[in-house]
C-alpha cells in the first residue's frame, strides 16, 4: 500500500505544469485596476483626520484672520460714497414703484 502510494505521488509530482496564456496577466491587471480599492470605515476617518491636520497652523491662521477682518468690517463707519449709492438706489426704486407711476 505504501509503495503504491509513493508511486502515485511520484506520478502526480511528475505531471507537467499548466501555463497560463501569455496575455492573461495583462488582462487581469487591466480588469482589476479599473475597479476602485475598498477601504474600511476607519481608513476614511483616518484620512479625514490626516487631511484636517495637514497645514493646520495655516488653516488656523486663516480662520483667525477672517474673524478679525469681520469684526473690523462690522465696526468701520460706512463711507460717503456708499451712502450716496444707497440713496441713489432708493430714489430709483421709488421712481420705478408701479403704485406711484
Amino acid at each position: 500500500m505504501k509503495h503504491s502510494d509513493d508511486a502515485l505521488r511520484a506520478q502526480l509530482r511528475r505531471s507537467p505544469s499548466l501555463s497560463p496564456r501569455a496575455d492573461l496577466a495583462a488582462q487581469i491587471i487591466r480588469h482589476a485596476t479599473r475597479l476602485p480599492q475598498q477601504h474600511p470605515w476607519y481608513w476614511h476617518v483616518q484620512r479625514a483626520l490626516d487631511e484636517l491636520s495637514y497645514g493646520w497652523a495655516l488653516k488656523l491662521a486663516s480662520i483667525a484672520l477672517c474673524g478679525v477682518l469681520g469684526v473690523l468690517a462690522g465696526q468701520a463707519p460706512s463711507s460717503d460714497a456708499e451712502n450716496e449709492l444707497i440713496l441713489t438706489a432708493q430714489t430709483f426704486d421709488n421712481a420705478l414703484d408701479p403704485e406711484l407711476l
Binding site: 502526480l12 501555463s19 497560463p20 482589476a32 480599492q37 477601504h39
Partner: protein
Amino acid sequence: MSNSPGESDEALMARVAAGDQGAFGQLVERHLPRAYAIARRVLQQQADAEDAVQEACTRLWTHAHQWQAGRASFSTWFYRILVNASLDHARRHSSRHAIADAETLLAELLDPHADLASAHQQSSEAAALHHAVQRLPAQQRMAVVLCYIEEHSNPQAAQLMGLHLKALEGLLGRARKQLRGWLARLHEDDL
C-alpha cells in the same frame, strides 16, 4: 516610486494597499503561473480557471487593506483567496460535468522539448492523470493538487483550505484510494 525586481511580496503588498498599480502588476506577474496551475487542475474548464485566478487577483487589488503584515505571509493570504475562489467555481459548476476539451488540454500539457511521438505519449498519460484527478470531488481534488502536485506540506494545505489537519489527511486518503483504483483500471484497459 521604487520598482526593484527583488522586492519581497510583503513590500509590494504594502504598496498595493497604498494604491500602487505597478506593485500590483509585479505581484500578479510573479504569482500568476502557480495560481493558474492550481486553478486549472481543480477546475475542468480553462475559462473557469482563468475566471478563478482573475477573481483572486481582483480581490488582491480591491481588498488589499485586509492583508495585514505580521498576521500571515502574503502567500498564505493570497493562495487562500485563490483556493476559495476555485472551490466556489467548482461548486457552482458541479452540475456541468463536461469533460475538458481534450485537445486544449493535450496542447497545454505538451512538452516542447520532447520529440513528437514521445511528447504525445507523455501528454496522453498526463491528460489521463489529469482526468482522473478531475473525477475526484472538489475538496479531494484541491487537497491532491496542493499536497502532491504543488508540494505544499499537509499543515500548509490545511491552512489554505481552512481545514483541520486530520480532515485534510482524510481527504487525501480517500483521494489516493480512488485514484489508485481508476489508474489501475486505465492500465488494464491499455494492456
